[in-house]
């Protein structure tokens, strides 16, 4: 499958090494409309191709990607300028099961860059709330200046969501919590029946366990497992986890399916 050319139309720097770029189709072709949680394979000419979650969508086929610089290809995407052309194919992978939150309280837990694949889900959840059931959003980061999309939290709150933030370190001016997301999940006002979780893998493991301790069922906890992927279309096997090919069966999977597969052999 060949990548479709997309032109960079917006570029917003978020913290020291993260950038959110907006892309629109450069020609007549476009990728399908991504559902919250799905990803695109993003191609940079002469550099490489990597999976990136869709963090926003808009008019005229706009897709937004929030990218952290970690290696060659992500560096090239972060460094792209308005007007540059990248390639995209997809959307691939499973989506957050938004309807599962209907009639239930939902806890969305996002750590670090993990808020990117959850942003569309949070938007969809706050847009759908027509009953007393609540959307609780817990966002964790290393420091306050590394919280992504901080200017949208007030809008989510105004739409009825409870949004709490926690960081590993801050000074006294900080108005959120200092500590971990797992510690916050012990709070009674943050209890839910369903959870969407995305962040570094260790953080997701700890969060899932903390949610289980609150009595949440394993099949109601959904995580996004972003292991290295290559083809995106369940051919190459790079992202195999036990019986799952994460580019097809994930990245969003329920905890009951993956918990037994998460053990890491010691060395």
């Amino acid at each position: 499958m060949a990548p479709v050319p997309y032109r960079v139309v917006t570029r917003v720097v978020d913290g020291s090494d993260v950038v959110t770029i907006g892309l629109v189709p450069a020609g007549a072709d476009a990728v399908g409309v991504p559902a919250p949680g799905q990803f695109l394979m993003v191609w940079v000419n002469g550099v490489g191709e990597i999976p990136i979650s869709v963090s926003g969508i808009g008019a005229d086929g706009l897709v937004e990607l929030t990218v952290r610089r970690v290696g060659m290809t992500s560096e090239a995407i972060v460094g792209s300028e308005v007007g540059d052309v990248l390639g995209a194919r997809g959307p691939y992978g499973t989506a957050w099961p938004i309807e599962e939150a209907d009639g239930r309280d939902i806890v969305v837990v996002a750590g670090g860059l993990g808020v990117a694949p959850l942003r569309l889900a949070i938007e969809a959840l706050v847009a759908r709330r027509r009953d007393p059931h609540r959307v609780h959003v817990v966002i964790g980061a290393r420091r306050p200046d590394q919280l992504l999309y901080a200017d949208t939290y007030e809008r989510w709150r105004a739409a009825g969501a409870q949004v709490v933030t926690t960081v590993d370190a801050a000074d006294r001016d900080w108005t959120g919590a200092v500590g971990t997301a797992t510690e916050l999940l012990g709070r009674h006002d943050l209890r839910g029946d369903v959870a969407f979780v995305c962040g570094p893998e260790l953080m997701m493991v700890w969060t899932a366990r903390a949610l289980l301790r609150t009595g949440m069922a394993a099949d109601r906890i959904h995580v996004s497992l972003e292991r290295n992927m290559h083809c995106g279309i369940a051919h190459c096997g790079r992202c195999q986890l036990g019986p799952l090919l994460l580019c097809r069966d994930g990245a969003v999977v329920s905890w009951d399916r993956v918990a037994p597969l998460m053990a890491v052999p010691g060395r």
């Binding site: 590993d168 000074d171 006294r172 900080w174 200092v178 797992t182 510690e183 009674h188 006002d189």
Partner: protein, 159 residues
Amino acid sequence: MTTDATRDRIEQALATHPFSAGLAEAHLRRLASIAHEESYPAGAWILRSDAPADRFHLVTAGRAAVEVLAAGREPTLIATVHPGQVIGWSWATPPYRVHFDVVALDPVATVAVDATELRAACDDDHELGFHVMRRLAAVLAARLESTRHQLVDVYGPAR
């Protein structure tokens, strides 16, 4: 002097605070009899490191910060404490002196249990003592887990 109305309010606060909710009625009454209400303006010290650990605070409003202060370096904010949580465990183990500084970040309200009386109550009613210590152990386990998670620096660069 504690009025009946204040006593009722304290009993009510203890009955609903996550630390003490679910304790037997008699135990709640015993705790209420050795507790009083305290409030701290933003910026006030709630506990000072190395002072006698004479109170156990159940936070009912406002946020507080646990800090480490040392000459020649900026204060390090280790954790925040929120309504529904507790401040202080140094009251439970000898030599009963406070380990960390705790400052009110907002106006903070607590139900403060007298620590000397609480230790005596736990000693002479082991049933009460067991439930208080079991709950305190859960608080400590959660704090220890959280501190260990912070040590791992999960949001830092992959190694």
